[in-house]
């Protein structure tokens, strides 16, 4: 039993288990529910994957280093609004400005956090509200439309049948993240910082640089994701904070990240995002109302939050010994 749970805790194996689960769901739905798993279904799953993927990846990296970046949801919105507003002078320029703002926001938050010795949750809560506030001011609290519809078409046109530009960018970012964490020294330094910051510092890791870097990447990815989505929809709006926050956090923890830090892997996060994307597409196929999506994602997040709880094992042990005690006494 313990060996199985230890295996599942291993990030790569956990990702494999999740991917297997995904394949199983596909097979079962194809055989029993009569849902045809064709290119269209795959395409819709990958579009959902692209929507939450990058935010989850950025958040996951901050979780890996032992922090928690609440501001990704705000940066997602700000990135979308900036890209649409600035993008009227050329979409690539808009994208670049959005990503630069993301990087700057991440660096500022990380520097404040390190200099003042503050908790990342506190600082990024301020960041979340400030970024959303800036988005409100820029858009005057209204939806902004992007007039160049050809960009939206280019974003969503199927490539090789199942991919789109958005999902290809997302997959590329995940692969780059995976390579960074597994094969480079920076990746190992990040994991070391997340596992035990003091020990990492003693071993010569520049933990401050790692923190600043990770928060910059997290901001950049969130802004990029928001910009891509807004271009895909040809519109941006400063509302809807929780729409991306809930699935992103669920994906990170589902994919093996732990809030105690030092555990997790981009490939695992990708698997978590994929599971959520499939659930979302499945619910859409079933034709249920959007509020059911929220309930399902919320319930999933609640379950993963309990599973991530440090005291879960202790409670299960207490429960088991209580049961055996009762049985023994009878």
């Amino acid at each position: 039993m313990t060996s199985i749970s230890r295996l599942i805790a291993e990030p790569i194996i956990r990702a494999c288990v999740l991917f297997l689960f995904v394949a199983l769901v596909f097979a079962v739905s194809a055989v029993f529910a009569g849902v045809v798993v064709d290119a269209t279904t795959m395409f819709s799953v990958l579009q959902n994957f692209a929507m939450i993927g990058l935010v989850a990846l950025g958040l996951g990296l901050t979780v890996l280093i032992g922090e928690f970046d609440l501001s990704v949801a705000g940066m997602f919105i700000l990135g979308g609004c900036v890209a649409v507003i600035v993008g009227s002078n050329g979409p690539v320029f808009g994208l670049a400005v959005a990503v630069l703002i993301g990087i700057a926001g991440g660096i500022i938050q990380a520097l404040l956090m390190i200099r003042l010795g503050l908790n990342s949750v506190a600082i990024t809560l301020g960041g979340l509200l400030t970024f959303t506030g800036i988005a409100h001011v820029l858009t005057e609290s209204k939806s902004v439309l992007f007039n160049d519809l050809s960009v939206a078409l280019a974003m969503n046109v199927p490539v090789l049948g199942v991919f789109s530009l958005r999902s290809l960018i997302t997959i590329a970012c995940f692969l780059a993240g995976g390579v960074l964490i597994t094969y480079t020294r920076i990746g190992r330094d990040i994991v070391a910082t997340g596992s035990n910051r003091h020990a990492a510092r003693v071993a010569g890791v520049s933990t401050s640089h790692m923190l600043v870097g990770v928060f910059a990447v997290s901001g950049a990815l969130a802004a990029l994701s928001g910009a891509l989505l807004s271009f895909g929809l040809s519109a941006a709006s400063p509302t809807g904070l929780s729409n991306v926050m809930i699935p992103a956090i669920a994906a990170v923890i589902l994919g093996g990240g732990s809030l105690s830090g030092g555990v997790g892997h981009p490939i695992g996060i990708a698997a978590g995002v994929l599971v959520l994307a499939i659930v979302r597409s499945g619910l859409t196929v079933l034709g249920v109302s959007p509020s059911v999506h929220e309930i399902v994602t919320g319930a999933l997040l609640l379950v993963v939050a309990i599973l991530d709880g440090p005291a879960l094992g202790e409670r299960l042990y207490q429960f088991k010994s209580m049961v055996t005690l009762r049985v023994g006494s009878i």
């Binding site: 503050l118 301020g126 400030t130 956090i249 919320g298 609640l302 939050a305 709880g309 005291a311």
Partner: protein, 318 residues
Amino acid sequence: MSPKYFWVERLMAFRPRLWISTHGALLPLGLALLLLTAMFTPGFLSAPNLLSLVNTASVIGCVAVAMMLITISGNVLSFALGVTTGCSAMMFAWLTGYESGLLATVGALVFSTVVTGFQGLLIGLFRANPIIVSIAALGLMTGAAELISQGSMIYASGSQLQGLNDTFWSVPASGWVLLALVLLADFILRFTRFGRNIVMLGSNMTAAKAAGISLWRTTVGVYALAGLFSGIAGILLAARYNAGSLEYGIGYDYSAIAAVLVGGTFIGGGEGTALRTLAGLVVITGAGAILLLHGVSTEYQFLFTGLVLLVAVLVQGR
């Protein structure tokens, strides 16, 4: 140590102790500044403006006191209190259909207490991350409420609680309710064993555990109390608009946590009082109203809340 050096030591160790801790020293400054600008803002000190200000602030204040309890207990914040407020307003409006003000009140309060207390149970029992549990609860409750109400408003019938819209000694009833909750929260924190357990849990969980405090009982208690206060906020809203809607609670979490932090409650837990939270609330809502009177449009209010919160957090740093 010789007596001479003893006095040197005493002098060296002397720090002027303000009536609040150093990071809260910004609060009286903010209040003074607010009062000064208020005097030079035409229309701010008029009776209708003050009345509407008290009405708005009292509902946010109930949520802020609830948020403060959660922050003091070391659970940082909850993203689900605003939606709990909206849901209990809906619950209250729906239950008034049975022609009993008591049933509606009790129903709404039991609902909010149980829902929030359950989050506390998960957090206390499994040590699940409080922020994530609250975000999950936000998703679940928003989805469920939208599904049940089909996104429409629920109108209250009957006028059992019209008394909540009256004014007593020229202060609206909601203002007195808020004052009562503030005093109750401070009484609990200062004079009861439960309150001291909350503070101890927030300042050092390991020590609290070693001292024999039941982690999960205290956490459930804090969350249930916070839920009760949010439920009261919901009832105030439902009585004012004579209806209940999910829209009512939107944004309350952020204003509430801003009031809590401006009031000098330490975000790491273990420190803070309801009276200071009330002062923080006055600063936040008062400044917002002044900005509005000076013709600053509403979208800047979001940015303002965010920046104030950021400053309140930064001041707590070393």
